[in-house]
């Protein structure tokens, strides 16, 4: 049985195709101003990768901030439930799943059956999400993908305002004027963000295993900072940015079976 999961994020749309519960292909596209077109693109890419047609898909589930714009979705699922499903799929003992996307951060607490029991969301504020790193990289005149490796070269961190992107930018500029080194400023950016994410996660409790997913989970600088802050081992799947889409595809498989009955 073929199922499809679509994650319509604020920056990118991701699609994952499963065959009998196993991942067979992925696709992604920039969300731009038209999430529907972007989703079609991501899905077409995934179908091509798997050598399948749209008609081969038994069931599709959409998630993400623009989930209502997913073309041809059979149903939708909350981002939190998709996170829980994906986290436990990768790491069966997962109880805390942290998902950091471009514009939103979430932490989900789940029980032994991968069911979400509590969650906390940071939305409508750029400070706790990928947008923070992006804005600081711009202020520092460093490529986004270079921020993480750069921060690992730092021996200490300079303090910056973690609570707001706008104030953080001013802080970064004054640190540059004070001739602080770029690695140290980069480290400060990740420490500041990890601080914010950590206090968010503490509201639902840090229950091992702790899993990190979402686009920011690819950033070595953030991973290192969050490990320092939480003081626990953090598990990260191979393609953490596709986790939401994968969770949706897993839920699609369950719903397809229910429909057959």
């Amino acid at each position: 049985m073929i199922t499809l999961g679509m994650d319509l994020g604020t920056q990118r749309v991701k699609a994952v195709i499963l065959k009998d519960g196993e991942e067979v292909s992925r696709g992604q596209a920039f969300s731009g101003f038209d999430a529907t077109t972007a989703t079609e693109e991501a899905v077409a890419q995934a179908l091509k990768g798997a050598g399948l047609q749209r008609s081969d898909i038994a069931y599709s589930v959409a998630t993400g901030s623009s989930m209502e714009n997913a073309p041809g979705a059979d149903s939708t699922i909350s981002m939190m439930s998709a996170d829980a499903k994906a986290g436990v799929y990768f790491f069966p003992k997962a109880h805390t799943i942290i998902d950091i996307g471009a514009e939103e951060a979430r932490a989900v607490k789940c029980d032994d059956k991968a069911v979400m029991v509590d969650f906390v969301v940071n939305e409508r504020c750029a400070a706790g999400a990928g947008a923070f790193i992006e804005a600081m990289a711009r202020a520092l005149e460093v490529k986004l993908e270079d921020m993480g490796p750069l921060s690992l070269k730092a021996e200490r961190a300079s303090p910056i305002n973690a609570s707001c992107v706008i104030f953080g930018e001013s802080d970064v500029v004054s640190l540059i004027h004070r001739q602080e080194s770029k690695p140290e400023i980069a480290r400060a950016v990740f420490d500041a963000m990890a601080d914010r994410v950590s206090s968010m996660v503490h509201r639902i409790g840090v229950n091992p295993d702790v899993v990190l997913i979402g686009g920011v989970a690819k950033d070595v600088g953030f991973i290192a900072a969050l490990k320092r802050k939480l003081g626990v081992e953090i598990l990260i799947p191979d393609f953490p940015d596709y986790a939401g889409a994968l969770g949706a595809a897993l839920i699609a498989a369950t719903r397809a079976k229910e429909r057959q009955k």
């Binding site: 101003f33 514009e103 504020c125 305002n161 992107v165 104030f167 001013s170 004054s174």
Partner: protein
């Protein structure tokens, strides 16, 4: 004050006017109680000099990266042309975000107390609610007829609604910050407010609206509306009681002031005509600080 060079001026839409003013026809002697208040904010530094509790001169300048230097710069500018020397000042009170870094101050007092006191001085004893919109935070303050703080609420750690947030929008729209308020009112019909209050997200939303063909006026109206709603909510939470006044840099943003009045359904007491020599509501904290300075000086003389 010398204006920055033209090219720089054109690019820096956030830049607001720095100035100093001396009240005409006022004399002072060494017998007078001459005090100063220095309010080092995150964006602007203000200083006020008072003779026996009456405003004599004041200044507004941009806060630099160094608070003590900014304090000295503001005070120096307030003294400029008065014939007064720093040593003539009997008592100096520091206030604002950088108040602990005012090296010449005899004492530091919170800007909340100073703004309530200063608003009472500028507008008189009928003031009960003060909204202070500074560069880095928003405060809603309830005060009594003497200008004493009864309660307050503060929104900090977020640029939404602050002067800094407005500076970001001035740059984005390429409109000088002092014109933004008036321009935001040039719409036939008020558009719905932007959905994001986070300045970083609101910027993205605004760019999207401009691409959709919205005019700058309309986008500014939508942004200003969202910020005014945020400020009105803070005022409602602290409990609105007449009369309401607005201090801080954003008190000069007519787009914000008008919309707060619409949202709350009441009129603010109008600010003095500061462009024409009247007391500047952006200097309220420094006026309050100078008044506290007078009271504290009198205490030292008695005891």
């Amino acid at each position: 004050m010398k204006e920055p060079s033209n090219v720089k001026d054109e690019l820096e839409f956030w830049r607001w006017r720095e100035y100093n003013r001396i009240v005409e026809g006022k004399q002072w002697t060494s017998k007078d109680i001459i005090t100063a208040g220095v309010d080092v904010g995150s964006v602007g530094s203000k200083a006020a000099i008072m003779i026996n509790g009456e405003a004599y001169s004041w200044s507004i300048t941009r806060t630099g990266s160094n608070s003590p230097e900014s304090a000295s710069k503001a005070l120096g500018l307030a003294l400029l042309g008065t014939g007064l020397k720093a040593s003539d000042l009997k008592y100096i009170v520091g206030t604002g975000y950088g108040r602990v870094n005012v090296p010449m101050a005899n004492k530091a007092i919170t800007e909340i107390a100073c703004h309530a006191k200063g608003a009472n001085y500028i507008w008189g004893p009928s003031v009960r609610t003060v909204l202070d919109v500074g560069g880095q935070d928003i405060k809603a303050i309830r005060s009594d007829e003497t200008g004493r703080v009864v309660s307050f609420l503060m929104n900090d750690k977020c640029a939404a609604g602050t002067g800094r947030g407005m500076e970001v929008f001035a740059d984005l729209m390429q409109i000088p910050i002092e014109e933004i308020g008036a321009i935001s009112l040039k719409v036939d019909e008020e558009p719905p407010p932007v959905s994001c209050t986070c300045v970083a997200f609101a910027k993205t939303e605004a760019i999207g609206l401009l691409r959709k063909g919205w005019s700058k006026e309309k986008v500014l109206a939508a942004y200003t509306r969202a910020m005014a709603v945020r400020m009105a909510n803070l005022i409602n939470r602290v409990g609105l009681e007449k009369e309401l006044v607005i201090t801080g840099g954003q008190s000069k943003n007519i787009g914000i002031v008008t919309r707060i009045e619409v949202v709350l359904g009441i009129k603010c007491l109008p600010p003095p005509n500061w462009r024409d020599g009247g007391l500047d509501p952006m200097v309220a904290g420094a006026f309050g600080a100078a008044l506290f300075g007078k009271a504290l000086y009198e205490k030292t003389q008695k005891g």
